[in-house]
Structure formats: C-alpha cells, structure tokens
Amino acid sequence: MSLPLLRRRDALLSLAALGALPVFAHSAHHPPMDDAPAPPPDESVYRLEATLEDQDGHSLAWSSLQGTPVLASMFYTSCDMVCPMIFETVQATLRALSAAERAQLRVLMVSFDPERDSPAVLKKTAQARGCDAQWMLARADDNTTRKVAAVLGIQYRRLANGEYNHSSVLELLDGQGRVAARSGKLGPADPAMVAAIRKLQGRRAAEIRSFSAVA
C-alpha cells in the first residue's frame, strides 16, 4: 500500500475523530524518521511518490531508481508508428557509447497503456526489441502513469479506439533524478544526448575518483 494513501487515511480518521476541526489537525503530522535516507534534491523527479511494476512483475518505488543515470521515455506496446522508433533511437544512443559509458546507464520505458501492457506483454516487447538487463519496461496505474508523465514533461491522451497520442521524448535523468537532457529527435542517436550522457558519466567518474582518493 502506498504511503500517501496511509497518510490520507490517517488524516481523514484524525479529522473525523476530532470533529474535523483544522485546529487539531496537526495530530496527523508524520515527523520524518531519523534514519531515513536524505531525500532527493528539490528538482528531482524522484520527489514524486509513485510505484511501478516492471516486466518481471516486481513492484518498485519510483524513487528506487536513484543512484544511476537513467535514460527514460514512454511508449505503448500496441503502437506501431512512433514507439518502435523510440526503442531504435535508444538502441542507437547506447551503440554510440563506449562499453564503460553504457554500463553506467539504465533505460526506463514506462507504458501509457497499463491495461494492455501487463508484465508478460512488457517482457515480450523487451525481447522483441532486443532489450537486455539494462532496460526496465514498466507500467503503473492510470493515475500514477499521468503523474510520471507529468514529472517527465511527456504529453499523452487515450483515443476512443484504444490508441494513444503522445509526445516522443528521451529524457536523461542524473543519478539523483534531475533532468540533465531532453531530446525529441528520433532515428539516429542525437549527438547532444550522447554528449550529455558522456558528460554525466565523466562527472560521476571524477566524483568516484575523488571519493577513493579521500578514502
């Protein structure tokens, strides 16, 4: 069960018990736990509380993607026009990187279509598109899908015939979830995106070196 839901219930129960007097509503506060990890920065997309389900049927917190840069986009499996091109563009981008640069990157593809894109369908799509373990194909409930799209700045709408209109964007998130680059170019790898990934990886490598030197 998601945290916001618990909070909401607590708040509602407290309000009901106290005759809904806002004056007493502070009893519903949840002070942060002392041992909780530092929250992601203010600009991080991981400040959104959300739960995803991956192609293996595992459920995971959106914020658990923190730590490694992520190349993110959205798609839906039954789409035969742009979505295959999004996968091809990501593959081309990965091919433009060295093995070392590639190893430090994850790819996240979130479905617009949670109803039809079950984990089994996502898994099949991953296989069909040549996605290795570096890739995560995921879905979420409708409400969460719209929140994830909103935080990524991706627009979409469901049509009456079950198809989706959507913007096609690749987003590069740094390890803490800040948007480091965006590209709407489909087809061959966007040199600007490749450069942004390299820059991010270079910075991470430098940070790790300086950390090792201190240690």
Binding site: P4, R7, R8, A11, L12, S14, L15, A20, L21, P22, A25, H26, A28, H29, P39, D42, E43, S44, V45, R47, L48, Y76, C79, M81, V82, C83, M85, N143, R146, K147, A149, A150, V151, G153, I154, Q155, Y156, R157, R158, L159, A160, N161, E163, Y164, N165, H166, S167, S168, G184, K185, L186
Partner: protein, 260 residues
Amino acid sequence: MKYLATFVLAAAACTAGQAADYVGLPGGRFESVLPQGPVSTASAPVDLKPFAMRRTPVTVAEFAAFVQVHPEWQRGRAPKVLADARYLQQWGKPLEPGQGLRTDAPVTEVSWFAAKAFCETEDARLPTWLEWEYAAAADATRIDARRDPAWRRQILAWYEKPGGQALEAVGGPPNAYGVSDLHGLVWEWVDDFNALFIAGDSRTQGDPDLLKFCGSGALNIIDRDSYAVLMRIALLSSLNAADTTGALGFRCVRPLEGHL
C-alpha cells in the same frame, strides 16, 4: 443582498471545516470541441459517466486547512519539481494566507500536483477535461448553451476584464446543474491537462503528426467559434504540472454515489 448573505454563510461553513459541497451531474452523450474519435478532424460524441462535482472552486481557507494537515504541501516544503517558485507566493506565511487574500476566494498559485493531492484528501480527483467542458457547457437554465451567441458573449466578457485585481469570493450564480464559477472567476486545472496538446512544431522531422505524436495525430479544434473554451485549452496545454499562476485554481470531482 440575499445573495450576499448566502455566500457569507457558505464561506463560514467552509472555515468550520465542513465537508465540501458536491453536486451530482448525470453525464451522458456529450460533444466536445476536441475530437474524441479516430478521425482528428471529425466530431465524435462520447458518453460521460455520472459524476459529482464541487459546487465551487477550492477556496483559500480550504487550502489553508489542507496544508495544516499536510505540511509537505506547505510553501517552502513542497519540492520544486512538484510546485514552482510561485507556489502560494501571495500568502503571508506558509500556513496563513494573511490579510491580502480573501479566505473565501478561490485558491490560486497551486500546481497540478498540489491540486491532485488536495482532491485525494476528499476522496476525489481533478475532473477530466471532458467532465469540465461538459459541466461548463451549461448556463443558468440550459445544460448546453454553447450555441447561444449571447451566452458566448457573456463568457467572453470575463476575458476582457483587466487582470491583476483581487479575486472575488466563490459562489457565483449556479448553472443548470447547480455548479458555480466555471466561468468568470479563475482558470481551473484538469486531471488530463497534459493530454490537451495541439499539433506541435516538429518541422525538422517531416510530418509532425506521424513523428512527434503517435496515433491519429494531434488535436484539431472542431468548434472554432468557442473562443472561451479554446482559450482554456490553449492555457492548459501550455502548462507544466509544477506551474502555478495567480489566476489558476481548481475544483474536484468524485464518482456519484450509487454509480460506482
């Protein structure tokens, strides 16, 4: 004068923390100004499920009560990625709107994420564009007054009022469904604001309808005479979910009881 007394009472009820007032709308067949079918240039009516809508937009007082209970949505605590720098900027303090704002005016300077979080505390959600457009098609006596030029002029007159003035209290004259303030007071968030994109500029990639957007292409406007509604769509489609503006508020909807 009687009218004034009514909304003073309503405002008093809000500050006492009483449950928000929702009114049932029957739904049914509705023709949007936006194409809903597979052909983006032709109208295709849709069937809307019944739903309940707040009679009035969420007020400053109601939002103040919300941030009391949900400190994570106080100004200064809500992360930038969910609410921009202008979030609740006019408030005197993070927990107190202060003297400058009427507590019975609609709350503005709220992001989509904050509006959604508020509605969740009422076991509600933001309306979809279609639900909002359907509710807003009614005038005082007709459920669909959109073809009436006089009604259109009346709505447009609001857009001609100079901006920058303090917002008035919620609770204007109700429409045929009993819903107030859909026109004339503030803009309102809808849940699927990021579904209202209009044909994008991607001329560098050939046909924008094929490449930038999947499916049957970007939106076309069917009823180009509905300027007031088109302005809403233009505004909403230009927003990011963290954006806030001084004229943008919201209201919530929920399933109509007995129609779950």
